[in-house]
Symmetry: C2
Subunit: 251 residues, 2 copies
């Protein structure tokens, strides 16, 4: 009786990771997928380490991530920064901002990114025309909320070692669920400074924790790729619970 993920995929949905994600919740027919697809204006390419959205600026469009890594963050008065989330293919940039007219947080690319734009006006028309779109977006929004809550648990009540371990597992799960990670390795293109700002740690301490995980033979690293050497022990250490979201546990 719950909201079930749709097992079959409407054709056309594979053409963009956002559509694939949406289609897990919204029961879209081929015509509707086409309508949404058409509303997505031409692709936009962003180079690495560029700002995409700046806090406080007018925000009247949604950016749907087709490829690449980004971060959503906020700069504090004291020069510190909190990274709120890692943005991956299929994610939406600019949602809370669009609903309040001005961006609430900043977003910048980590790697080169490919985005598709949809204006807020068009998006709202689509919500009116396609009944299940708004509901699907509600579900995606709740996904984000659960991710944000898990992140909060990380930062608030886990030890630094647990946080780093958890971060690796979570990023891996997210990437794996969209077919962008092999079973036991993850590409982590962000610097340890960014990871520190994500986990509420100093860059130096992230480094130490990463080193400790390697010494315990739980992971190994090579360039910016992390290999998960012992998933069981790493999960145990991180008290990791596979997401309802990324998980495959939904019937």
């Amino acid at each position: 009786m719950g909201v079930q993920r749709l097992l079959r995929n409407t054709p056309g949905v594979e053409s963009h990771p956002f559509l694939a994600r949406l289609a897990r919740y919204a029961d879209l027919d081929v015509a509707e997928v086409g309508t949404i697809r058409n509303a997505m204006q031409g692709a936009l390419t962003i180079r690495k380490k560029k700002d995409i959205v700046l806090e406080g600026y007018i925000c009247d469009a949604l950016h749907l991530v087709d490829d690449g890594f980004g971060v959503r963050y906020k700069l504090l008065g004291n020069g510190k920064r909190q990274v709120l989330s890692v943005i991956l293919p299929g994610d939406i940039i600019g949602l809370p901002g669009a609903l309040y007219r001005r961006a609430v947080y900043s977003v910048s690319s980590v790697t080169c990114m490919r985005l598709n734009v949809i204006s807020l006006k068009n998006f709202m028309h689509l919500c009116r025309d396609i009944p299940s779109l708004a509901f699907g977006m509600l579900c995606l929004s709740q996904e984000d909320l659960v991710m944000s809550s898990d992140h909060l648990i990380d930062v608030g009540r886990r030890t630094p070692l647990e946080r780093v371990a958890h971060f690796i597992l979570e990023l891996h799960a997210r990437l794996h669920s969209i077919g962008r990670a092999s079973p036991n390795s993850v590409d982590v293109p962000m610097s340890q400074g960014i990871i520190g700002d994500l986990l509420g740690l100093s860059a130096a301490h992230v480094n130490r924790m990463l080193r400790q995980l390697q010494e315990q033979r739980l992971i190994s690293t090579c360039n910016h790729t992390i290999m998960i050497e012992d998933a069981t022990r790493l999960r145990f250490l991180a008290k990791y619970e596979p997401h309802v979201l990324t998980g495959l546990s939904l019937g």
Copy 2:
């Protein structure tokens, strides 16, 4: 062109704080308000410090808070607890859980609470029948996301003193926006232990920070009421930015 808050209220909307909150985003007519109102089954009263939702249990209904304080939290393996959010009148309990069939986090009452129940089945029917309901829920969901993100910033990158100050201001703003706080005092019915679990601090340290705020004549306390003695300095200390959400800054 953004999503504007509706300045006029549809009659009937004042009968429940959830409807009032929803009506800021969803353009509901009188009939629609009545339909939603009817779907809300009889009121449910919960005594203080009782569990309302337990993580992992089947969750097939939404609870709309009419009155009282609650907390959404998660228990960690090591006995620690992270309080994810304070639940106030107008909030919805059980949303992420309902969409995934099982509760993702636990919720318990802090004070005595009055709730209205709406089954997930009815809710989904309503979303289909009332086009703007799903969209309004999306907006409320984004509100929660922004609150969660702000909370994350607190815990990740603010000093303990800033966190406590920020917590007081934020709770005050939320209560004030629903007409449940006077201009310069807040009722804070939760223990310092709960505040600690909310802010990622020990109860002892919350106590010290609270004292420090009193010594600096920024606040004063009396029973479970906090008086804001110097809002300007308190805001400055907390680097508080009034929410787009609770704020009145939306045109």
